[in-house]
């Protein structure tokens, strides 16, 4: 999965566990950029009586680096607090929730948004912003889209923000990938370890009909661009920014014997991080994953070895014997993956008009070229599909990042840096076979679809 339950310790702390990060020039408002960080993996919609919510004790942040060093130049901070409006009831709501001020809505969340710059200047943009409720069902949340729409708040400086439950937009055949890589479309080529052969089959979306909690902020491009100026040249290294999200907790915690939070004090320490999808999930050894989560991108040169020699590429040759002979014979460090994931791709490699290069500092950030306009007809395979406005130039909510990254690891991007390499024929079929068909996305902010209700989906 993109970053759902990717490391042993953070998997036990779902409210602080980032699942996906999106960054793209807003398709309906091209002078702005939209940044979305999702948290709380695999929310079953039928979650009563205590429905999902952000952590009041977690500091959520979305960072932007525009100087190429993996250090945040702009950070948006989000702090939540919960209230029980009806202290005597055991219910989340004791009647239909028809507005964000409904008297029958008991458990609510509010949040503040603060913008912090590299020089330490901190500016609280807003506080006491209401989250929408979770989508419960036709009696409790009869007009959910209206509730969600009311929870889109305007911020000073032409910014907008939304924080609350959304439908999961990431799609992946998790069951196949982590069953020793038996990708269903090419399962007939798998060695199956001597067990009965598998048949090729369509993929199964393991994240269908689950929800997440999203923090979405839309800001003018100038808000995160170098020098505060919207760039105009897509080939300039100054046009790309690096985006990542983190979640942090207070360093010291003493539990209250009578229940509740107890004491939390001391500085915040980072417990979760996400830049490029699947980076920590696939390229960092299990024993290092939680440490990686606590590190800043500026230290990612320590993990570059896993990118230059990805374990998954070697496994493909073992799991699919004979299917990837060219990849098996390729022994050079994977400069293509290092460029895609750690430095960005310089102009002239893919096209003279395409660059995500941010400098030589190796840092896992989701790089977005702010001078590349949104695509009129997006291709879910992004740059692999000839669509420069898609992953790995940022990431849009519909991009098929699993297929893109599987094919990249399997060698489809090696010719970008090494013309002597010819990708194996089997690479065209390397996919988990899940396309995202059926996802219902919004055409406007916050773009992620209406969350599934507990009534409409069985837990």
């Amino acid at each position: 999965m993109s970053s759902h339950r990717e490391a042993p310790e953070i998997a036990k702390d779902p409210v602080a566990d980032s699942t996906d990060l999106y960054a793209f020039v807003s398709p309906d408002k091209a002078d702005t950029v939209t940044l979305i960080a999702n948290y709380i993996p695999l929310e079953g919609p039928a979650a009563g009586p205590n429905f999902y919510e952000f952590g009041d004790d977690v500091l959520y942040e979305i960072h932007a680096s525009n100087k190429g060093d993996g250090v945040a130049d702009v950070t948006y901070q989000f702090r939540f607090r919960s209230e029980n409006k009806i202290p005597t009831t055991f219910l989340y709501n004791d009647g239909p929730i028809e507005s964000l001020t409904s008297a029958s809505w008991n458990r609510r969340q509010f949040y503040s948004v603060t913008r912090v710059t590299r020089d330490g200047k901190s500016d609280e943009l807003a506080s006491n912003l209401a989250c929408p409720p979770c989508n419960i069902g036709p009696l409790s949340t009869p007009d959910y889209p209206s509730l969600a729409s009311a929870a889109i708040h305007s911020l000073p400086g032409g910014r907008r923000v939304f924080a609350g439950q959304r439908a999961e937009a990431f799609f992946v055949d998790l069951g196949a990938i982590f069953d020793l890589g038996d990708l269903r479309p090419i399962a007939n080529l798998h060695n199956t370890f001597g067990l009965p052969a598998l048949k090729a089959a369509p993929g199964v979306n393991s994240t269908a009909q689950v929800n997440v909690h999203s923090i979405a902020i839309q800001v003018p491009i100038s808000d995160i661009a170098l020098g505060g100026v919207k760039p105009s040249s897509s080939s300039s290294a100054k046009s790309s920014v690096g985006i990542w999200t983190t979640a942090s907790r207070r360093k010291a915690r003493v539990l209250n014997a009578n229940g509740g939070t107890g004491v939390e004090t001391g500085p915040y320490v980072q417990v979760s991080r996400l830049g490029n999808p699947l980076f920590n999930e696939v390229l960092v050894p299990l024993t290092e994953k939680d440490k990686w989560n606590a590190q800043p991108p500026s230290k990612d040169k320590n993990y570059a070895k896993g990118v230059a020699k990805p374990e998954l590429a070697g496994l493909l040759n073992v799991l699919y014997p004979g299917a990837f002979p060219n990849l098996a014979a390729y022994t050079k460090p994977r400069a293509d993956l290092e460029a895609i994931l750690l430095t960005g791709i310089p102009a002239g490699v893919v096209s003279k008009d395409y660059s995500t290069f941010t400098g030589t500092t190796q840092a896992d950030m989701l790089r977005l070229n702010l001078a590349i306009a949104p695509a009129a007809t997006p291709n879910v395979l992004g740059v692999l599909g000839g669509d420069f406005a898609g992953f790995p130039n940022g990431r849009r909510v519909g991009d098929d990042v699993v297929t893109i990254e599987l094919q990249a690891v399997a060698g489809v991007t090696i010719p970008l840096v090494d013309k002597t390499f010819t990708p194996d024929k089997a690479i065209a079929d390397v996919s988990d076979g899940v396309t995202g068909a059926g996802l219902t996305l919004l055409s406007t902010f916050p773009y992620l679809g209406t969350p599934y209700s507990g009534y409409s989906v069985s837990a």
């Binding site: 360093k251 010291a252 003493v254 001391g266 500085p267």
Partner: protein, 107 residues
């Protein structure tokens, strides 16, 4: 006897003793006055002045990372202050012993 508001939690982690002391403790020495901490053992019965005390209901959590070297982390507000004071560490460890066995000589 220590002030009535004192509460101490003990937690052992490997060779280190972790002690969490909550607000109002006489062990809650004023932060930012590192030199004063060095003399804390000899001024244990001196009440804190209002200017020295923690602000409001601010909690203080103490983590003795290494009782032998006296490395102690103090968590208060959004800060972590690290001190090295073997005497304070020794007093805390002896306080544990005394609490567990009143026959042990008081620190």
């Amino acid at each position: 006897m220590e002030p009535v508001s004192r509460r101490i939690f003990f937690k052992h982690a490997g060779a280190a003793a972790a002690v969490a002391a909550v607000a109002g403790s006489a062990l809650a020495a004023p932060l930012g006055l590192g030199s004063a901490l060095a003399g804390a053992a000899s001024t244990k019965d001196t009440p804190l002045t209002p200017n020295e005390d923690l602000r409001g209901n601010e909690d203080l959590v103490v983590h003795v990372k290494n009782s032998r070297t006296g490395e102690i982390s103090l968590f208060v507000g959004h800060r972590e202050v690290i001190i090295h004071d073997r005497k304070i560490a020794a007093r805390l460890v002896r306080a544990i012993r005394q609490k567990e066995n009143p026959n042990v000589i008081a620190p």
